[in-house]
Amino acid sequence: MEALTKTVGSLQQQLDSQKQLWDGFHAPATAALGGATEAPAEPNPNASAGSLDQIQRDVDELKSAQRQVKSGLFNPDISAAVDFITSYSRKANNVNFTLRDAEVMIQSNVDQYARAYIVFNAETELAPTEKLGIFDKTSLGVEEAAIQTTNLPWGLQLKAGQFFADFTRMDKIHSHDLPFVDRPRSLTEIIGGEDASRGFELNWLVPMDHYLRLTGGVVDNIGADLPITSTLFNPDGSVHSASAFNDGANRPFQSLMGYGRAATLFDLGSGKVLHLGADYAKGSQDTRRQIASADAKLEWQPDPAKYDLFETGGEVLWSKQSGQLADQTLWQSPSIESLFNQSTGNASAAGGYVYAQYRFGKLWQPGVRVDYTHSNAFQLLDSDNNGDADSLGRLTNNVWTYSSYLTLNLSEFNRLRLQLNYVNGSEDIVPGKGRNDIQAFFQWTVILGAHKHDFAP
């Protein structure tokens, strides 16, 4: 009991000192108006009720002061996400339960100059046509960790560390935040997954009445290199492909990748906002890699008094990579090995996607998406038909993916989604089982803790 009294006493002291702080902080407001209170100047027949009111107000104010002090404490914002997906491929007759993403994000101001964030995650690739065991295609570690300035002048912001580069519209978005279950094939093929990069990025909100944001960066790479060979299959159906550009043993300055993005928004009035963007990236030396893209998005809120929201958008992308080919140990035939080690070659890819979705009220959001991906790479040829590859030839693959999806937003933090993909390629989609496939996905995503809405141009 005594201890309790002590605690209460010290609590009271804390409250008092907080109130003093609070009053000090507050002084200009109350002093200026001769103490503006919530009680209007009116004849009050019941004085004691008035003073009770005042006491209640003081208590409330203390509570609110405490609340404000509390939320200003040094604990960083912590949030987490779980993204669980059930996938089914009809041609492969395969069901996967995939924990695509389990991530924890910590972010906070560092001091008056910078803020920083770290994203730890375990991420598993979505591969509906392959039977995945536990931890197959799983990567575990630090997905992003970056420092960002907060007080550079002239609308500048500098970021350093490992981060998703501000490059293209959709590829910098974490997979569980995408409007669809799967990342469009064109993005995965052409950029190589998310915009994961390490380096420096400077972006500038141009100080004028029209919204224009320019980004430039120097990083080691964005995403992953183009595969030099199209996905090839051994006679037994196993996958036979590799990224086989010679990387070089070191990384001279010239081989870093430079990129830029310009993004602008137009307020078209009556609830319509148009986003436009364009990007270019180039790396040189051992492998000359180039990526160019353009994107657009239109948001339309037909009635601001309702939750309905129409959104349509898309991107077109192009990429080319050339350089010295290298043996990646997959090649069993000595003739192929030597062929690879002596040649220079290139791979290219182009494509894009468009989507449209409509949110009816708060809960339901159906949508459709079409993706086209064209790739041009090498394939292994078996000219003498002896079962062993003996030469290289060109192979192009064109894949169309038609998707429809339905999102159910149970709350801001809990989301269910069903998606159906019809995939049609000029090469086998499922090894040995044909050039098309129907794939179904069921996704359940939840977010825990602090949830920040992003403004992502």
Partner: protein, 301 residues
Amino acid sequence: MKKRILLTLASLLVSLYASSTQAAPVKVVVTIPDLADFANRIGGDKVTVYAMASGVEDPHNVLMRPSMVTKLAQADLFIVMGLDLEHAYAPALLAESRNQKIQVGKPGYLDCSRGVSVREAPTSLDRSEGDVHPHGNPHYNTDPGRMRVVIGEIAARLSEIDPADAAQFQANAKQLTAKLDAKIVEWKQKLAGKNIRFVSYHPVWPYFAERFGVQPVGTIQPKPGIEPGPRYVDELIARMKADNIRLIVKESFYSDRLPKQIAAATGARLVSVPIQVHGTKEATDYIAFMDAVVNAFAGKE
């Protein structure tokens, strides 16, 4: 093109020059139109005011527009209601603006909730308690008494930013407060002795209820921001019948499907009510907005 760039540069220089002298009006950005109304009346011709929300939308759900960022980037003062009312758009836009003057904790950032007593502050934070009122009820603009404090805060902050015009700000604030005080007496009289008990769609009215003695007895949303299931609606109807609740208050931006259904089942009067300035056509400024609210609660005589 070249000419345009030159013009832009010139206007940049002009604005830089203007900001270094105190003659230019204080650029104020606010979230909801209620705050715009106050800022305009207090600041007069010494301020320019931009409101992010139009007023007809759910204040928790405002579409982010590019002009909001560019306005914030140039603002001297950003005024918010706080308590996470603007969680869906204000923090993201503020970060994107990169304007050092108006970041949280700086003199150019005014969170009006810091001066008012907060109701329904949760004792523990748990997301199963609904997803939009984590710091207590943010709809305190329905209480003109608390908005008196807000008027004082805005006047004080404007005076801090533009001391040369402080006297004018204080005079305007005093005038506005006096006008509001007179209206509060009138509104109280209108609602006095009516013993109004009501069900609303979203928990918007605890402050209004406290001020004017009306009694909220339930909400159509079981938790803030959460839509009800059929069983909950049946229970609500049964409860309303048992307690003889005669009024359903639908905040203007919600669909009237459920409220109509409940009104038909209970025989209660259904009114659509703005919850902020410009929420409906008649709510042209703060006093007109409160007039509309009070009239809706009081009903036609």
